[in-house]
Amino acid sequence: MLTTILRRIGLSLLILFLVSVLVFLSTEVLPGDALDVFLTADDLVTMEPEQIEALRRDFGLDKPAIWRFFQWLSGAVVGDFGVTFIDETPVSEVIWEPLLNSLLLGLVITIIAVPVALAIGSTTGYYRGRKPDAVVSSLAIIGYSIPDFVIGTLLIIFFAVWIPLFPALILVFADASVWELLKVSIMPAVTVIIGHVAHLSRLLRAGFIEAMNCEFIERARLSGVPEKRIVFRHALPAAVIPSLNSVALFIAGLLNGLIVIEKVFGYPGLGLQLIEAVDKREVHVVQAITFLGAVLVIGMNLLADLSIIILDPRVRSHKNE
């Protein structure tokens, strides 16, 4: 088993490396370099070529690509992502607080969403085909079909415009305290939860149904084992393994949701930061955020796979892959 675990970790590191290559390459394939992307047409007119060249040397953009890649990568693994173009602030400073804020929001969402989706998923899976399942499943489909930003905007209309309960726009800054952040995170959290819980509960439902259809469930029934024990002791552990993959998928999807929702509500997180950076063409910031996002996704997938390796007895005693 140790070899399998090590192999899996090695694979994650390989993927991370490839992601960083991809992220770095995305700016290399363009004609010109990161600085050219950043400079607007105006700048090109007003600045002297020597000034532009000097800036280029400043940022180290005249060095060969491979050198720059490894320099970037070695910085990235310790959190140093270079500096912004506009005022040479270290990127890590720029993204630190928004990162924490997004993590907070994400944590709030996950803590609420996963248990709720688990409960809904297993209950609808157990009562599959009957009325409650049909109704809840339809609601779930509607839930994840409506775009996040629509739900967010609708919530704003209902709870900020018509019933002035919450502020429509969050005017909190990135360095606000945890308490303030929590207060303003309610609406964004609810928005994301509605759509993503709906989807996750469908995935978990499918996993649960698969578990309940196993032959050993029939044998347990035929041996007189009570239903409750069958569900909790026999079926649920069998449903955990496909569920772990679903949860990893859910967290990856959260990243997408957060970006949109932070823009809708103005929550001072990494997603908002990303959009601003794209707007201002701060390539280093975009690279850094993308890299971190990938780290999170790769990490989640790794955790899920490792849990499966450790928990599934069939994988555990497999000598060769």
Binding site: S145, P147, F149, R205, L249
Partner: protein, 281 residues
């Protein structure tokens, strides 16, 4: 598949029928809409912020004075086109590569799967952000970006299905007949992954529509003045207090299309015996 079985699949359950109907309405309006609209989509047709129900403008006008009904009917065309074409390319190209990876195996398969894993580690919106920063926001670029975004996911799922077929005896027989690798992939394997491909296409299209509207909303997708529902929601937010319909109407249109698509896909997958609840990202 015979006509009768297609119809029975499409009317599999009340949910499916409603879904199919919604999709059909949207597709028809996207295709034939331009023939029936009263004004041009960017034409300044009347006073600004007229409420729906006003004369001459059944669904009102927006902030600049463009007829909203026209914009709404046209607004879906671009996203639907980009989403469908992107999803189709993703599924067809991804599917072919996936089946070939399943059959050929070895280093080729390993390499492809590493690339797939790499792309899947980057959340979709981030990936598009990178591409938009680099390549701009034109329609061809958007379509290609959508295709590339969904290709790895589709590839992985179609490859899984192909893997169940590769060890079967009819594939061995084809090998023994001396069929070339390409012949085996296209003649033997592809027909047996078709069901998965169709469901994947439907799923990716609905994800793509959501993605395109979200992108337009964020300012990374379709650029004004082309009308697009996501963009229209964004533009309408500033007038939320006085003209909520500017946000509600396009939101309704996007939602009904995706809801219809998802209900139809769910029914389709159930009828085919497949599990529709898979990752949408």
């Amino acid at each position: 598949m015979s006509k009768k079985s297609i119809i029975s699949v499409l009317t599999h359950s009340p949910g499916t029928t409603i879904g199919v109907a919604l999709v059909a309405i949207h597709l028809l309006s996207a295709l034939l809409g331009p023939l029936f609209i009263p004004y041009g989509p960017t034409e300044l047709a009347g006073p600004s912020l007229l409420a729906p129900g006003s004369s001459g403008h059944a669904l009102g006008t927006d902030v600049i004075g463009r007829d909203y009904l026209t914009r709404l009917v046209i607004g879906g065309r671009t996203s639907i086109f980009v989403a469908m074409l992107g999803a189709l390319s993703a599924v067809v190209i991804g599917g072919l590569i996936g089946v070939s990876a399943a059959y050929i195996g070895g280093f080729y398969d390993d390499a492809i799967m590493r690339i797939v894993d790499t792309k899947l580690s980057i959340p979709g919106v981030l990936f598009v952000a990178l591409c938009v920063v680099g390549f701009g926001r034109s329609i061809p670029v958007l379509t290609i970006v959508i295709a590339v975004n969904y290709m790895p996911g589709a590839l992985r799922i179609i490859r899984s299905q192909a893997l169940t077929q590769v060890p079967l005896d009819y594939v061995k027989s084809a090998r023994l007949r001396g069929e070339s690798k390409l012949a085996v992939i296209i003649r033997e394997l592809c027909p047996n992954v078709l069901e998965v491909v169709v469901v994947e296409f439907a799923l990716r299209t609905s994800s793509a529509i959501l993605a395109v509207s979200a992108l337009s909303f964020l300012g990374l997708g379709i650029s004004p003045p082309t009308p697009d529902w996501g963009l229209m929601v964004y533009e309408g937010i500033r007038q939320i207090y006085i003209a909520p319909w500017l946000v509600l109407l396009p939101a309704f249109f996007i939602s009904t299309l995706v809801i219809g698509l998802n209900f139809a896909t769910d029914g389709l997958a159930n009828a085919l015996g497949l599990d529709a609840a898979r990752g949408l990202y």
